[in-house]
């Protein structure tokens, strides 16, 4: 793999906004602007670990009330029924369509969990400079970036049902605080994955096997 040169070794730097390739002078690489698009250029994104951990931990703290607190209240003829994310999935499975229940389960429960586990793994392994499964970790990061925003699904479902089910005493849907926390979880995890710099996966120890 050593046949593939890295920009850092060649004294080059790539702009991560427009892709422009520039050669670095002798001066400090930080605090430089891309000659083509004017964005700040970084050899690696600044303060990756501090920012990424902070956002990830904040997201996780939001994720607890998001799952414990109910996200939606259904009131029908004086009958009040509070739903959490999980009970919403169960209800969909039992009464409606199991296929859709699986999709909601993936978007609302599996994707956020995957993001916590994946970003946590990436951060720890990069901080240790590990050369373990680099290509797979790079793929994992791209997967997280690709599917991350689909978690917003449940927030939209609650919003749309609230707007639609307005039959006064007969039937009424209200949003509950859980959905606010869940929305914040999704936004914070999206910021966390944006802050991460996948180039760090390939820094550190040289590859030994492949």
């Amino acid at each position: 793999m050593s046949a593939l040169p890295r920009a850092d070794e060649l004294g080059l730097i790539g702009c991560h906004v427009c892709g422009q390739v520039c050669s670095l002078g002798s001066e400090d690489a930080e605090a430089l602007a891309c000659p083509r698009c004017g964005s700040a250029m970084h050899r690696r994104k600044p303060a990756v670990y501090a920012r990424c951990w902070a956002l990830l931990i904040a997201a996780f703290l939001m994720y607890i009330p998001a799952n414990v607190l109910p996200i939606m209240r259904t009131a029908s003829l004086g009958d009040i029924d509070d739903n959490t994310i999980l009970s919403g999935v169960v209800e969909l499975w039992v009464k409606g369509s199991p296929g859709l229940a699986v999709i909601v389960f993936c978007a609302s429960i599996m994707v956020p969990m995957l993001k916590f586990l994946a970003l946590g793994t990436l951060l720890i392994s990069c901080q240790r400079g590990s050369n373990w499964a680099r290509r797979q970790r790079a793929q994992l990061y791209r997967l997280v970036e690709l599917i991350g925003y689909w978690s917003m699904l449940d927030v939209f479902v609650v919003a749309l049902l609230t707007a639609l089910v307005r039959f006064g005493y007969f039937s009424l849907v209200e949003p509950l605080p859980g959905v606010v926390f869940f929305g914040l979880t999704v936004v914070l995890t999206m910021f966390a994955s944006m802050c991460f710099d996948p180039r760090l996966i390939w820094d550190g120890k040289e590859d030994s096997d492949d």
Partner: protein, 218 residues
């Protein structure tokens, strides 16, 4: 200046012979791509460059379609629910308004931003840039607009909303009469168009346009 493009290559008008993978920092020589081909990084497998099978004019036409459909999806009611002869319908604006009044301002802002403000900005900006890119020119404000588009990234979520509407319909179907309205069809078409646009490599606009005529443009 410490920063300059290597050797004799002009940063603005010439396609640079090197490519740096933004995911792993590996330097590649650029190969000419045929229509529909994708260049992937040899080290990490990330997409380096895509050659879209579409000209700027075609994209502009599709974008115009997307704008028309987007306006319809936003203004028209999405679904109507019926219970005991009573009917309620909702547009996207109703959703935002009702969430705001129902103590969920955070959700209202998220919905308004990801389903209305950001998609609209994206469509209009891209349209403006493509209008000039058809002739290989850079639109006034090309630089800040391209940077803005890059940062807009994943914050447009119309396609997620389509799935959300589907889930809502299935849930509501248990207790109410559900009548789909034109808005939901408009959203369906919008989702298809977004999927087509997702494969477009915007960074190529930097290489395919030049600054020369930008000053003369209105």
């Amino acid at each position: 200046m410490a920063l300059s493009p290597p050797d004799t290559f002009d940063a603005v008008s010439t396609v640079h012979p090197l490519l740096i993978c933004e995911h792993c920092d590996t330097v590649h020589h650029r190969c000419p791509l045929a229509m529909g081909e994708v260049a992937r990084c040899a080290r990490c497998g990330a997409v380096l460059e895509r050659c879209r099978g579409m000209r700027a004019g075609t994209m502009l036409a599709m974008l115009l379609t997307a704008l028309v459909v987007f306006v319809q999806a936003t203004l028209w009611p999405i679904v109507t629910l019926g219970l005991n002869g009573q009917h309620v319908h909702a547009t996207l604006w109703n959703v935002v308004q009702i969430m705001w009044n129902d103590h969920s301002q955070v959700v209202a802002v998220l919905v308004a931003a990801t389903l209305f403000v950001f998609p609209l900005i994206k469509i209009l900006t891209l349209g403006w840039l493509l209008l000039y890119a058809r002739n290989g020119r850079r639109a006034p404000g090309f630089r800040p607009l391209m940077v803005g588009l890059h940062h807009l990234g994943p914050w447009t979520m119309s396609e997620v909303f389509v799935l959300g509407a589907l889930v809502s319909i299935v849930k509501a179907h248990l207790y109410f009469d559900v009548i789909p309205d034109p808005g939901i069809y408009a959203y369906g078409v919008l989702m298809l168009l977004i999927t087509l646009f997702a494969s477009i490599d915007l960074d190529r606009l930097w290489d395919e346009t030049s600054d020369e005529d930008a000053g003369a443009a209105p």
